[in-house]
Amino acid sequence: MGASFSLLTVLVLVLLAFMGVRVAGWDPLFGVVIPYTALFVFLVGVVYRIWDWAKSPVPFRIPTTCGQHKSHPWIKGNNIENPSNIFGVVIRMALEILFFRSLFRNTKTELRADPSPRLIFGENKWLWAAGLAFHWSFLFIVVRHLRFFTEPIPFFVGLIEYMDGLFEIGVPTLYMTDVVILAAVTYLFLRRVVIPQVRYISIAADYFPLFLILGVAISGVLMRHFYKVDMLRVKELATGLFSFHPVTPEGIGVSFYIHLFLVSILLIYFPFSKLMHMAGVFLSPTRNMPNDNRKRRHINPWDYPVKVHTYEEYEDEFREKMKKYGIPVEKE
């Protein structure tokens, strides 16, 4: 249900953009008003969500330790999987954010019946590989798009563009990231439907962003290779947006507006959704703190006194027994 609803929603969005531009001719709405709204909601929304998280303190230092702690000098501590200082934490976080370290550990557990019932564990890197491929190609694609937003185009954009089209397949050159992102998102969708447990936990909020991103990618690819638009005017519109002199030049193809509209929806949806994991991963208390509790005291800002059972109360209750058994007491 979640999947079909999400797919339908994305199709409606496509139709909306198509009708809005092709039939109603609301270019300024789809080319200026909605993109501005989207950027605003995205920026303010993400900042608000992060700030909202930040308002809640981290009362205890609770890293998940995944390696040997630092104890004796003759035992090699694992400063990355179980950091004892900030340096280790930075490396750990970098590995987590850039290479999905934890997901890389993923295993597959199976129950085998022969010769006797037993659990066996195997490698399972597909989710990691697809996840990594998806996120990195997304990042490359975003950076590549800076060629439409900036003038003159910064050198690194050209570099990425060059690398992305290295194989020079077709005209215009096929971007590798386009192929990778389509394949990765397709895989991420398929595993949600095919693996029974994952299908069971998946809700509309999981399918919708997948379809939306798929929609963005497909519309982008179509626009580049099949339903061409006037790129000069596209850049005119884009630089106009980013220099606050918005324009909607005549004659940009509708496929551009569909693409832009889906991106806008993605930006608007972002702060309200699980996509916030992009920011959340930086704040995860089980990853972003060193395991040095016994060396450096962690302060809990809302710490309050609690009712304890004092030694005096304890001795008052058991004094006679303690004395009889020769256990030292405070008050004879």
């Binding site: 609803f5 308002k55 909020a205």
Partner: protein, 546 residues
Amino acid sequence: MSSELPPELADSPKPKELMAIDYRPPQQPWMETPVNFKPGNYCFPTKAKNLRVLDMPNPREWAPEEEDWKLPENWMEIIREGMKDRLDKYRSFKLFMDICVRCGACADKCHFFLGSGDPKNMPVLRAELLRSVYRGEFTKAGKILGKLAGARKLTIDVIKEWFYYFYQCTECRRCSVFCPYGIDTAEITMMGRELLHLLGLGINWAMEPVANCFRTGNHLGILPNGFKDALDFFAEDAEEITGVKIDVPINKKGAEILFVVPSGDYFGDPGTYTCTGYIMLFHELGLDYTWSTYASEGGNFGLFTSHEMIKRLNAKIYAEAKRLGVKWILGGECGHMWRVVNQYMDTMNGPADFLEEPVSPITGTKFENANSTKMVHIMEFTADLIRHNKLRLDPSRNDNRIVTFHDSCNPARAMGILEEPRYVIKNVCNNFYEMPENTIREQTFCCGGGAGLGTDENMDTRLRGGLPRGNAVRYVQEKHGVNSLACMCAIDRATLITVCDYWARGVEVTGIHEMVANALIMRGEKDRQTDLRGEPLPGKEDEEDV
């Protein structure tokens, strides 16, 4: 060893039957699948008297299988307020409610899911039980979109579901190792349990120890005289075996070190052998230390209750250290005790500025990693002794043991003490084999009875939870002839016996300091005939009859 199953397993199905697990989720969505309380799959609720001792809300007698749970009238408001309060206090809680993408990497990492196939035992769904309410009550999207956004309303059935599943989680953190965002189900279960406690919903096997610990200083409710009796008894046992007379200092003011262990160590076998091991080791070292009757519990079932309760119970250790005027604290073999010591004690009850930075009086080693908390793990202490050749050891005395080591969840994933126990084990015995790598160290599997679930009334759940661990033990049993499962956790020593009896018959559970004491050549000892269990030492089997 006899092939008869121990009495607590008499009614359980055969392992083969229990292993016929169907991992396919049911047809109907999880929100529409109600919980089914059956004997064997849940723990008995807290008795009213225990809640009264602790001034906790809604003390009453009730039963999970009955329709009416006798909740306070404004229970909904209590839960809402409780959630809001905790969202404001714990970034972990708020973040973990928001950022899960339901990738499912955690699904087959949970021992309860692997053992039961119940989809709500997948960590992701366990958390969704809470998240769905969070979305429905606290987020705009959830309020507007409802089920589409994965939100639902707070109902009595939701509360029942929480009770069922938050007491089918041992807070072992294994899922957290694999989560790309480090989402820790232990944190979520802790929050879930805190919320349940606001309504007076807890389990007696966790709360009776808490109440006991509050009053008598230890979970088992052992009074000071009983405590002394037990330790004296171990000293006599040790004297019988070694011929060395051992003194056990209790509540001794001015001692250098306060020694704290989980009460399981002086209460039940095989923990008692480990406890005997401690006193033999300390006697041999001539250590100036003391036990305490008031702080006679290192374990802390508060961890399975609420953060406030952790603090209430843990406060005794520093208070007692201060009263006795010791320099630093040494802690015994325990799992969750060390999660509390490593991650909570200093923050909650510190700073321990009245103590000194711990230094081993034997080797002069400074335990710099414990400079603030001033509490040292006995495995750090003993490993250091062995490293500096301060112990005379005869590992062949443990030659009847083919040993494997079970990393306890908390020392592994909330501390990272992985090498010290291995170093000690390898120095005190000659036959050591690791279990498969996916089942040890940071990927270790829970015993199935942690976090207050180590009781007998939920045996079905426990055996299922113990499956992955039992499966790995059986693997090394078949491959290497392993007959001893070493561990450094009192709950393990209590619950793994059952797990081994059921899943890997013939494997015994042992503490590490039991093996240390067996191997330890004490000054003035006689020719030992038996190990601490009274079994003949290797090579002495025939002399027994003479």
